[in-house]
Subunit: 440 residues, 2 copies
Amino acid sequence: MKAFYFCGPIIKTNYIMADYTQMWTDLGLNHDNHNALLDNLGKAYQSIFMAQENRPEGMSYFDFVMSEAHGLRIQELREEQKAGRKIIGSFCVFVPEEIVLAAGCTSVGLCAGADFAQEEVEKVLPRNTCSLIKSFFGFKLGKVCPYMEVSDMIVGENTCDGKKKSFEVFKEMVPNFYQMDLPQTKTPMARHMLKQEFKSFVEKLEEMTGKSISLEDLKQGIATVNAKRQALRRLSILRAADPAPISGLDALLINQIAFLDNPVRFTEKVNAICDELELLIKENKGVKTAKAPRVLISGCPMAIPNWKLPSIIESTGAVIVGEESCIGERGQRNLTDDSGDSLDGLMDAIVDRYLKIDCAVFTPNQERVNHIKEMSQQYNADGVIHYGLQFCQPYIMESFSVEKELEKQDISVLRLETDYSQEDMGQLSTRVEAFVEIIK
Amino acid sequence: MKAFYFCGPIIKTNYIMADYTQMWTDLGLNHDNHNALLDNLGKAYQSIFMAQENRPEGMSYFDFVMSEAHGLRIQELREEQKAGRKIIGSFCVFVPEEIVLAAGCTSVGLCAGADFAQEEVEKVLPRNTCSLIKSFFGFKLGKVCPYMEVSDMIVGENTCDGKKKSFEVFKEMVPNFYQMDLPQTKTPMARHMLKQEFKSFVEKLEEMTGKSISLEDLKQGIATVNAKRQALRRLSILRAADPAPISGLDALLINQIAFLDNPVRFTEKVNAICDELELLIKENKGVKTAKAPRVLISGCPMAIPNWKLPSIIESTGAVIVGEESCIGERGQRNLTDDSGDSLDGLMDAIVDRYLKIDCAVFTPNQERVNHIKEMSQQYNADGVIHYGLQFCQPYIMESFSVEKELEKQDISVLRLETDYSQEDMGQLSTRVEAFVEIIK
């Protein structure tokens, strides 16, 4: 048993962890870099998550998943591969998991939330690139991401300029890149194009697996993913109770794990913690004090281990009541209609479902601000913190109109722009504290 | 006669300029701001253009156009309006001038190359937005652009994230905005989409004018624009002689004026200066010394009056032999096939022509680096300066692969990133001088 499992030495569990050194070697990871990464992440997890008090018991499963994120979960994925499944890595909630599952494949998220090997990254990408993009480049160049290395195919998409153009470089670094084009509007032509792209994606997966997707496969894929979304929806509603039965940090963590874990097992565990949260709410028990200031986060996604802003917010005594984010409601709220009785009908339903995602790459994107207002009202938020990753043009540009529209409705907004570094922690804390003081 | 015509007091001409004060008032310009702008531009024009020696006589026409860019040309456009023509303003070489002309309308370019009212701009756009976008916002907010104000319709396009998202704000500032969607790839689906967009644009223009575009109209539109492109192509080849018969600055200016002037008259004047250049070449006369270091500029467009980098380059004694730019060969090099005998056939030819534009918003975009290599060889360039506007993600990201590919062919590259401010003049000069020293 080594000392550098991800969070392993920190989280107390009753089992003996395996030695994954050989597996990591097989995957081509750089041990020194990987150990350094896990060591840092373990410390961050300890200070941010394990230091919280009164966490629901159900969080022990998610702590366990995190402790084994680079260990047991990767081993599972490799066992799936041995049994003939393909692992599909992706960077965006636009890559339809229903279709991946229907093809008998497994979907994993590859977005990354930590600076790594940034000097190497800045040799191939401009310094003024958003941290999320620089991070997955750094994870690749530093050879520290077992999910990337285990993937049989990596799917990039033409969303923002940053991803679209950086994938031209990234695809030269991996042997198995597939690019998905996406529309920039939601016109009938855009829908037509998206359907074509999803059909091409089906063909690609069928070519990889050598098997055709049947109506039953697709129905099952939709059912599995819808069940996951419904469980996360249940969590979204329960977490918003006052006092909050679960911290915003823990709720975000569950949303992050949604991109890594086995979807059926994950859904069971989310429902299990939701059962517990219902009891806690009945007993009026909370992890935060009643009447704590209630903050909604809106904006760019927060990939593991990008917990900087939420930990600052909750350290003020405020509670985060929701994330209007790809890792959060933007990515998960809409279900796919499973009532179709033909493959083409189900494909239409999938296209319609994905075209509802209100990402800032679309123009116009009024649906997003409407959704922020809805969330704000439904979860009784006292204010909205707009989270923009520096150099993410779509979200940062949109934040101006979001602020304007929310303020018309007397919703307080704090617009923040940051990256993955720790350098602005002091400044961010000061601004967040002042905002929480105003809204409480 | 007032003292603030654009370059008016500086360029010696034999005619008495009219007083355009009333016209500018009618257009809603802010006189104080506009005077300040013209005053600055006049001084810049004087020091950059008029201070050059041995300019071809044919440049006097283009000096005249510049001196009357906010005067006589605007008066002409208003007269065209009185006669029933519509003025169509646009920001991108993807808006097809053939179609605008076929509809009996006039096309004018609205990109702007100077900082103006930046404090106001940064209230509605992020500071980290490229200068070109901030500039046209500043020209609108400061009420200093008669082209914007005279336009009957302003066409924005979904190219980069910056323009796409900022147009959501811009369209609220003008009464007559039309948005054109564009593909991000060059697949058959992308072509299908672009054709649909161009057909919608035809319909919009027909609705505005109340007249249908005939086969003859479209043939004429294509002929006019092709003639302009052929004249600019002739200029591109002639300017590359050694010694250069015309400066890169003057050649750029002509390319910039292509977006403002009457296309038929402009074509005549470009051909006239080309006749003169042919004579100068025969006589071995140049504006630069023979064997001057030869620089190719590649990258972001340079809108009037963004002459900062070219003036730095040529002040070292080097000559700019070409611009791989929208305001330059990227925008003008391809002709539209006019051999079709149906409206739909000509529309196909237009779509095919525009889809050849190798803008960095496309992925992949190998055509662009091929074109840079071709230009570099054809014009016998000693080195390439890649010009990136700060925060222009598509071009700055692409500059890394451009540099890599050119260096494989032993073509020297200097990658620069700058904005419209004068603050980095010293640093840019030092870097350009060092580069010119290396390549000569």
